[in-house]
């Protein structure tokens, strides 16, 4: 056992964890990637058009077309961007885990992974919460500010938005777990061999 540890340390490999832990982390990353990617896609393709007939002049009805798009709300735009960046980060981390075991920069690999994980958690939590509260205003309106609810008119838009937010929240919890695991890896890093 002692010989195996020395061998692993000599390779400069920073994953001297048991293999099962590495695969657990990888699986959780893949699921988190799927969750954030789903959230991004569902919200980015969220669009609903409704045509209302507002008046009838003679025999031709005057139609009014209303669209609900995610771009109308800055909170949803931030949501899409945050989840997109989180998906990219997860994908990058998966690639580095699988193919870039030797990549290192002055021994700071684990620290950089931990810090990047933390920033992504912060980003996704900001995006998810902004979108949740905007969706709440859309669903219930705000009587004090005279803002009418829009979910009764644009049901599909609201439903899809809800699905995206749920997917993002699931991704957020997974990313929090990943971040805790990365920090634990960092804090349990074996002491560097000093000459």
């Amino acid at each position: 056992m002692g010989l195996q540890n020395e061998e692993k340390l000599e390779l400069g490999c920073s994953s001297s964890q048991p293999r099962s832990k590495k695969w657990v982390l990888l699986t959780v990353r893949v699921i988190a990637f799927l969750a954030t990617a789903t959230a991004t896609l569902v919200m980015a393709l969220n669009k609903e058009t409704k045509t209302l007939v507002v008046a009838t002049v003679g025999s031709t009805p005057i139609k009014l077309t209303l669209t609900a798009k995610f771009q109308h709300t800055p909170a949803f735009v931030f949501f899409v961007i945050a989840n997109g960046m989180a998906s990219f980060h997860n994908l990058l981390m998966i690639m580095v885990e699988l193919f870039g075991q030797k990549l290192d920069y002055k021994g700071l690999r684990l620290a950089m992974i931990a810090i990047l994980d933390m920033t992504t958690v912060a980003l996704v939590s900001g995006g998810a919460s902004a979108a949740t509260f905007m969706a709440e205003v859309g669903k219930n309106g705000n009587s004090h500010a005279r803002w009418n609810k829009i979910c009764d008119k644009f049901e599909t838009f609201c439903d899809r938005g809800g699905v995206a937010i749920i997917a993002s929240s699931a991704g957020l919890i997974l990313m929090l777990i990943i971040s805790v695991m990365s920090i634990t890896k960092l804090l349990n890093k074996p002491k560097s061999i000093s000459s």
Partner: protein
């Protein structure tokens, strides 16, 4: 005998405590009565769930920050404090993000949804909410610095004496 590392960490925690306390107080006391086309109405922070969430989140962090100041220097609890710091940073970030989202609609309105901006009618309320958000922002930035510093000091004894 207070070590310089502990002093810096303590200083950062006091700044965070002050900022979150200020955010809670400023947001909770934002209150204005106004008239809007002969309708009189009142604007309070509790009208919007997002602002309520902001107040609650910052209140939790204030109480936690106050309690943490009393933990002795060499206690075993500091690992738990580090973990809680991460979770509370996330909570603070989501609370300010939610409050910002709703405040942005209040200031600019949302023409596609037919929501009019309300800041023109209740300017004092809007300014106070902005002040609370600024305090919350300062709290978050200081907290992130504190978190990174805690991880750095936690790591340094483990890394040995190289570099």
């Amino acid at each position: 005998m207070v070590k310089p590392k502990r002093l810096l960490s303590l200083l950062l925690r006091i700044i965070v405590l002050g900022a979150t306390l200020a955010a809670v107080i400023i947001m909770a006391t934002s209150h204005e009565k106004g008239t809007f086309f002969a309708l009189s109405y009142e604007a309070k922070y509790s009208d919007t769930p997002a602002f309520k969430f902001f107040v609650i989140a910052n209140a939790i962090v204030t109480v936690y920050g106050f309690l943490v100041l009393f933990i002795p220097s060499e206690s075993q609890l500091w690992g738990l404090v580090l973990a809680l710091d991460l979770v509370l940073t996330m909570l603070l970030i989501s609370s300010i993000s939610a409050a910002l989202a709703v405040a942005q609609v209040g200031k600019k309105g949302n023409s596609s949804a037919g929501w009019l901006p309300v800041c023109g009618q209740v300017t004092k309320y809007c300014n106070q909410v902005s002040g609370a958000l600024v305090a919350g922002f300062i709290a978050i930035i200081t907290y992130i610095i504190l978190l990174l510093y805690s991880i750095y000091t936690f790591l340094n004894p483990l890394l040995g004496k190289n570099g």
